[in-house]
Point group: C2
Chain length 348, copies 2
């Protein structure tokens, strides 16, 4: 095993092959304008040496790095990992590598990651910002010389295009569905109320409830099983117990569902439940949970497409200097009727 030395270089290949470096360079870049004889010979030497061009040296020459950065809260979150997978597929089609970094929804980690990716000279960035309004992040991004696309959450007050789900309309649709079923005391449950998406969903819920002129309450303190149980118990024992629960995010839906199950409350008989965001086993639990489904893969795909589009036509950075004049692509959500809202029994 003599192979474990360092990496062979292009000039080593050239020397061994008895040709100039230019020729080798041409060979590894497609082999055009090279005599078939030489081509074959050089290729053989490359193979034999196990030569791999050093990406760093190429990058240094100033070209594209064929690398894009993806900044998401967590890679273990099904929503974002699905987005990431979709974005990766587009990147691969564009012959690019994706570097995924996770931010834990922490703006300072986010900024650190943007810096790392900038040092690596990523050609562009796709980011799901923890805080749509972070001044630090916005100014950092503004100074960047590469295109950026916001995913799932916009970057307000910037010219950065965003690919979003229509959280407002989705939540309104969900709430209205519950209202159409006849529920009048719809409790809205969630956690992480600082996130853009959650705020939009709350807005949608409020709008629907207001239009129907019914009472409402929102509780944004659900973080885990315990807080879900406590909150639900409190409301259920209150003077105006809910007849339905609208949960604004995946984990909350699950916590609430389990709490209801634990308390032995009939769903949807005593209390109905409808969740924002679909998840794998929503159709498998009993009762199956009705949800608002987001076009997750499409979001990742569209964001990546948008980025590569900008990479293609440089300078065409749609510069609407007006605040929030940036392009916003809002994708539609869909109501998936299952059993937890009463559909299989009443409406069908």
């Amino acid at each position: 095993m003599t192979k474990s030395a360092k990496h062979p270089t292009l000039s080593e290949v050239a020397r061994r092959a008895g040709v100039g470096t230019t020729t080798v360079s041409r060979v590894i870049n497609g082999g055009r304008r090279v005599d078939p004889q030489t081509l074959a010979h050089v290729r053989r030497v490359i193979e034999q040496l196990g030569y791999m061009p050093n990406q760093a040296a190429r990058i240094l020459k100033g070209g594209r790095t064929r690398t894009i950065g993806l900044l998401i809260p967590s890679i273990a979150d099904p929503f974002f990992s699905a987005c990431a997978e979709a974005a990766q597929a587009i990147a691969r089609a564009n012959d690019s590598l994706v570097i995924v970094t996770t931010t834990q929804n922490d703006t300072s980690v986010e900024i650190a990651n943007v810096n790392v990716l900038t040092r690596h000279r990523a050609d562009g960035l796709i980011i799901a910002p923890a805080d749509s309004k972070s001044q630090a992040l916005r100014t950092l991004l503004a100074r960047l010389s590469v295109p950026v696309v916001a995913l799932d959450r916009p970057l307000s007050g910037t010219s950065i295009p965003a690919v979003l789900a229509d959280n407002f309309a989705g939540a309104r649709t969900g709430t209205n569905h519950l209202i159409e079923h006849g529920y009048r005391r719809i409790l809205c449950l969630t956690g992480e109320p600082t996130l853009y998406t959650i705020r939009e969903r709350i807005r949608g819920y409020r709008e629907a409830v207001k239009s129907a002129r019914i009472e409402y309450s929102v509780d944004t303190s659900v973080k885990d099983h315990r807080s879900a149980e406590e909150t639900i118990e409190r409301f259920l024992c209150g003077s105006y117990p809910p007849d339905a629960i609208f949960t604004l995010k995946n984990s909350t839906t699950i916590y609430a569902f389990e709490a209801l199950q634990k308390f032995g409350i009939e769903v949807p008989g005593s209390v109905a439940i409808l969740g924002y965001d679909d998840f794998e086993l929503a159709a498998t639990v009993r009762p199956a949970i009705t949800v608002i489904r987001q076009p997750i893969e499409e979001m990742g795909r569209v964001a990546a497409e948008l980025l590569f589009e900008q990479l293609q036509e440089p300078g065409k950075t749609a510069w609407n200097s007006s605040v929030d004049g940036a392009k916003k692509i809002r994708l539609d959500t869909r109501l998936i009727r299952r059993e937890s809202c009463g559909c299989s029994e009443t409406i069908s």
Copy 2:
């Protein structure tokens, strides 16, 4: 907005600051051996110019790239995304970036990805090989000059260390649990029988069943809901219907559970079910599903730790030239008793 030009370089900073390049280099590398005055000044210029060192140039100088590559089948698979998250945490602690690439369990994609990562001069690789025996992959990896760690699946016949779950013991434990409950006709269901992990689990199941001197059958054709339904129906209508089902992977567990639910078969009354690999809602569905849980995060963490260990002490590549003499870390699985095997009713 004059900022959107190219990236400012170190020598530009030096010129603007009226100092030499060495000084700037020292500043961006910690600022030791630099006069506090100059330090502050240079820092100001850097800030003002929005200067970011070009990683490529540093790499070119030959040092570590502080980048490791992770090759997994899919980023959307909860098992691997959890591993990835854990590995990332370790990488961050070692001040390194992780580049995650997905292989779709396709050896040729895998090889392409190894090449990409080699061109990027990743300091090391963590790989969950699609095929533990792929000759092409093994020779490619053998020529590499960087440390490699196998994750979840070993690379047989190499000196590459592997971090695995004890699939054999886990499956045996699961099967034995079913046997202890009194089940005697335990059907083993799975898909992807070519994977190392699945083969090991089948081995574990066979061993348990053989020791108990009972009949058994394994069906490895479950790919989706439909095939699960067909297979289960076929066995159920057969002359020797199973009284329990042991599923060897997550998706199979879910497909089988849903099929049973759809057919209206009482679980565990008529047929018990036990799954290999835990999943988020296994405790939420009714009945809650008993599973063999793998130490997922630990696997990702240990694999990354092992890699950085090798990175620390170069050359110490535990070179047991004997075939399969490589270090193998086998982590224990755990039986999580829930209801689908009859535990809450019989054993508790």
